[in-house]
Each structure stands twice: as C-alpha cells, then as structure tokens.
Amino acid sequence: MKELFPVKQVMGFVFSLIFTAIALSVYFFDLSFAAGLTILIVTAFIQAILQLVVFMHAGETKDKWAIYGNVYFMIFIGLITIFGTLFLFIWDM
C-alpha cells in the first residue's frame, strides 16, 4: 500500500494545499491591492510549476528542453498578450 503513495507526490500535494491556503490569506486579511496581487502571482506560479515538475513529469525524458521550451514560450506569448492588451486598453499608456 505504501509504495502507491510516493513521498514526492504526497509532498507536492501538501505544498499545493499550503500555497492555496497562503493565497486565501488575501481574502481573510485586509491587505493592500499591490500586496495581495503579489501574493497571488507568487503562489499561482509556484503551484503551476509544482504541477508541471512533480505531477506532469515534464523533465524526465530527453525531450525535456523541447517541452520546457514550448511551455515557457507559450507562457511568454500569453503574458505579452495579457499585458500588451492591459497597457493599451486599461492603463492607457
């Protein structure tokens, strides 16, 4: 039974829950908008990387660099799309 619950994945799950709890603090405590958003950005990206590395095994084969390259490139393009649009339409720069 024990072999079905590898330490690495159990720890991955525990850390996911911890980071979810940290993210929840922005709801329960009266933080400034900037502080709250910083917490959310940090916890969300740590959790995403946790999933990618621990659960999706992104780095276990020789395709590692192609896989990470593809994912990070898409995240980069995604962020440019999001922030480029915000610059033009919302922040009026």
């Binding site: 079905l4 619950f5 996911s16 922005v26 959310l40 999706m56 084969t61 490139f73 995604g78 999001i82």
Partner: protein, 198 residues
C-alpha cells in the same frame, strides 16, 4: 515495433514518445487559448454596466470546495500514473475512477454556481463582465466535462486490453490533460475569484 525496456511503458516506443511530445505542443496552444480568455477578462472585468460586480456575486465556499476537489483529483491521477508504472493495473484503475468522481463533483458544484449566478441576475447577457466571466469559467468547465468522457474511455480500454504500450501512453497523455486543467483552475481561482473578492 522496437520496445525500449529502460523506459516506463508509456515511453517505450518512438511513436509513444512523439505522441507525448505532440500533446505538450497541444497544451502550449491551450495555454494560449486561456491566456486570450484571461486577456478579455482583465479588459472587461470592470465593465459591469447595470449588472453586479465580481465582489457582489462571488462566494468563497463553493469556490474553495471546487479548488480542493480539483487539486485532490490532480493528485490522485498522479498516483494513478505512479501505480501504472509499478504495473498495478487494479490500483491504477481505482485511482483513475476516484479522479473522475472528484471531477464529476467539481462539475456539480460549478453547475450549481452557474445556476446561482443566473438566478441572481448575472447571466451571459447581463454585462460585459458577466459575459466574459461565464465564458472563461465555461470554457474550463467544458474541458473538464470532455475530460470525464475521455477518462472513462481510458478506464474501459485499460480494463479490456490491460497495460500495453498503447494504453499506458493514452493514460499518461490523459493525466497530462487533467493536470493542465488543474493548473488553469489555479489561475482562475487566484486571478478571477480571489482578486475579485480582495
């Protein structure tokens, strides 16, 4: 077909390796799909017109239940893949079944949430904000719904054919899809719900 026994079953043929890599490329396109939805959401979130704002309609309890359900399901399918690599077919199928049940529970809470939104006057046509909110949540929910049918098909195939390079490959690719849906939910949870209620 050349089998490489130094690798787990799902990587054991050249075709399998390409299938998995190809699926990562697809996930890259999915990242972009959700990035454009988030772009529209951030652009429109304050255009509430005469409708309600996010802070007025979001409720922490169902959102938290959804988050825990999906996080747990993502962990459980990870255990399923681990069991598959140990060659324990029964344990793997049980983990996959639990994953799908958690996914179904998630979907149930989300459907309740949607009915609730429409009921309190935050439907698809109320304002730019509610339109993009329901579109973004709905696109994710649709992915989960599709995943439920896909996962069921995977379980049936593993039951029928056992653990072969083909079924292991399909199961692993499905697990990638399911983990990805959890990643998307983490961002929805953080930047739509929590940011909206902050």
């Amino acid at each position: 077909m050349k089998l490489d026994h130094s690798q787990p079953l799902e990587y054991s043929t050249g075709q399998n390796n390409l299938n998995i890599f190809g699926f990562w490329i697809f996930l890259g396109a999915e990242i972009m799909l959700f990035a454009t939805l988030f772009t529209s959401y951030f652009t429109l979130e304050h255009r509430t017109g005469s409708g309600p704002t996010g802070a007025e309609i979001f409720e922490i309890t169902p959102v938290l239940i959804e988050t825990i359900l999906l996080l747990t399901s993502s962990f459980v399918i990870g255990l399923g893949i681990h069991a598959m690599r140990l060659g324990k077919q029964k344990a793997m199928i049980s983990f996959f079944a639990i994953t799908l049940l958690l996914g179904l529970a998630f979907l149930g809470v989300e459907i309740y949430e949607f009915v609730h939104y429409v009921h309190i006057g935050a439907g698809l046509q109320t304002s730019a904000f509610t339109a993009i909110l329901l579109t973004t949540l709905g696109t994710h929910g649709l992915h989960v719904t599709f995943g439920l049918f896909w996962g069921l098909a995977i379980i049936l195939q593993v039951k029928k054919c056992g653990l072969t390079p083909e079924t292991a490959n399909k199961s692993f690719i499905f697990s990638l899809y399911w983990h990805f849906l959890d990643v998307v939910w983490i961002f929805i949870f953080s930047f739509i719900y929590l940011k909206g209620m902050m």
